[in-house]
Amino acid sequence: MKDESMNRRDFLIKTGMVAGAFTLGGCIGGMRVLASVESNRLGQGSTVGYAPPPLKTDVRFAMALNTKVCVGCRRCVYACVRTNNIPRSSNMEWIRVQSLKRGTISLKNTDSLYTKAPLPDRWYLPVACMQCESPPCVKVCPVKATWKDPDGITVIDYNKCIGCRYCVVACPYGARRFNWKKPEVPEGELNLEVPMRPVGVAEKCTFCIHRVRRGRPPACVEACPTAARFFGDMNDPESAISKLIITRRAFRLKEEQGADPRFYYLG
């Protein structure tokens, strides 16, 4: 009886030592991974030819959309897909145009998969990342893989995201997408200004960070045939967008969520 219990203790001690050795080895291995990720973060992005655009700290980007003239044609969606290297026909579009019943702003029974527009009894509400001042997605990210840059754009470190999808769950606007599979773009259509995302990380609209930080308008603004979209600097009281927000009947979606979006709809 005595011998048996000694053996058991012996066994446990040996198992413990082996487990300890593995843990130590794992930690050293982990540190090497860390070093490579850090250098990736601080230097160039993850893809060939991609250089991060310069960051201005004195601007606060915002967008406005005139719901009166939006016809639901989805040209903004197509332009966005092309410039941001979003896989074609993948449901990964960063902009989703919601078709709503006239007379209501209730999202119940909205349809973003409509095939015919404009219809006389519908109105259209394009929705993408609202670049909130107080973004729920940033608050819930467990590893600080997403944050707000000084120009107001909420960005994601694709090399750091662990793929837990808490941000996808927490976004009140359903603006976050997850790379369920490896994203692929047809050969020759790759935009070298925008990094390809790896499989297993979250992504979303960046206000066309590669364009706006170099002084060009976002692709959706440029593509809109009815000129429904406006983009600019809210820090500048003389900018078109600042004036529009003050002079028009501007509202924001789900303001009661308290996220303080910087995407205005003009009625």
């Binding site: 449901n91 750091k160 790379n179």
Partner: protein
């Protein structure tokens, strides 16, 4: 006597072989979803329903870890000495289930190889980080408690202290896990103060019920038998907790369904639960896996029969498993932009889950053998 023993050994090795096969199958299935292979596209999850079977299991196993600890702690805090023979098994169950919960979070990640960022750049505004911390703390506490009850070391004072610490940690772990959902402001059906209490109550239900089932299995295969009174007493305790759990459910349902009381989101979701696509799951969870086992545990003529208590326990464990899915569906079943979403786990997902369950069963089997857990001789 001899052939019986040989048969028992054969059964044990057959069982362990089957578990190892299942684990192998799970690892094989998992290999498809890694970032090196296809990614999580192999699961039934999509943007509209980003958390499914794995997170359901995570929440389920966090819950199962509770009941064990309640039994262990009540031995020392409330002098419930009749539960003492079960305390070692209870702690082993808590340890195993916590480990499984952690593994289920890990396999749910799109980039599991980056999980070390939890340690290197934790974001303390995310309740998820606190869940990571409490899960690991709880694992350590269970390990210490298991060592204490195995070696029989520790003064009564120390054991009492240990029981208080572990009970506090258990309640914290369940509350924090509940808040992972409860703190999502955008999901009205999750963002309720009832979330943590509801989570603790169903956690204790499932944990106690599983302990009853596991200890009966241990009795059966070690050839010893825990006293019947233990089960009658646990059955009674279980009935009380089930009642609390059902009361919370009633409170939520009333708030949703009373004319004019429910917010539109509640009314719409309860429509799906009562008459819509989730009705078979929701109604069976309430009646077959909730009210029926409760009746079995309180009807005077049958509530003292061990097979009845066992049946009720099995039903309750299944019920809480379904409940964890319903909980996810309450938030994710209607997307942020108002669309009804759908999710069915794929075969691949289920195989991975079965593999992890087998890991748990293997740890329990080896643990029971190694720690020599059996009913005390009377």
């Amino acid at each position: 006597m001899e052939p019986k023993k040989a048969k028992a050994t054969l059964v044990l090795y057959g069982w362990i072989t089957a578990l190892i096969l299942l684990i192998g199958l799970g690892v094989y299935a998992y290999s498809f979803q890694t970032p090196l292979a296809q990614g999580l596209i192999t699961t039934g999850l999509r943007d509209g329903f980003p958390w499914g079977f794995y997170i359901q299991n995570f929440m389920f196993f966090v819950g199962l870890a509770a009941g064990g600890l309640v039994v262990y702690a009540s031995v020392y805090i409330f002098d419930a000495l009749e539960f003492k023979p079960l305390s070692k098994l209870a702690v082993l169950q808590a340890l195993t289930c916590t480990l499984l919960a952690a593994l289920f979070v890990l396999i749910d990640l799109g980039r599991p190889e980056r999980v070390f960022w939890f340690l290197l750049s934790p974001n303390f505004s995310s309740i998820f980080v606190f869940d990571f911390i409490i899960l690991n703390t709880y694992l350590a506490i269970c390990a210490i408690a298991l060592w204490l009850s195995h070696t029989g070391k520790g003064s009564p004072r120390l054991l009492l202290g240990m029981a208080i610490v572990s009970l506090t940690a258990a309640i914290s772990m369940h509350s924090i896990t509940a808040w992972v959902l409860g703190f999502v402001r955008g999901e009205e059906l999750w963002n309720t103060a009832l979330m943590a209490p509801l989570f603790v109550s169903s956690a204790v239900v499932s944990g106690l019920a599983l302990l009853i089932v596991v200890s009966l299995l241990v009795s059966k295969f070690t050839g010893t038998r825990f006293k019947d009174e233990i089960y009658v007493k646990m059955g009674k305790l279980l009935a009380v907790v089930v009642l609390v759990d059902l009361f919370f459910l009633l409170a939520e349902t009333m708030t949703a369904l009373w004319p004019g009381a429910g917010k539109p989101s509640y009314v719409e979701m309860y429509g799906l639960l009562l008459t819509g696509k989730y009705a078979p799951l929701f109604l069976s969870q309430v009646f077959l896996f909730g009210l029926l086992p409760f009746a079995l545990l309180v009807i005077p003529k049958i509530r003292k029969s061990i097979p009845v208590i066992a049946l009720a326990s099995v039903l309750l464990v299944i019920g809480v498993f379904i409940k964890r899915f319903i909980l996810l569906a309450k938030g994710l079943g209607i997307s942020a932009m108002g669309e009804v979403t759908s999710y069915i786990p794929t075969f691949q997902e289920v195989l991975v889950g079965l593999g992890l369950w087998a890991v748990g069963a293997l740890i329990m089997t080896v643990g029971v053998k190694l720690l020599n857990i059996r009913a005390p001789e009377v």
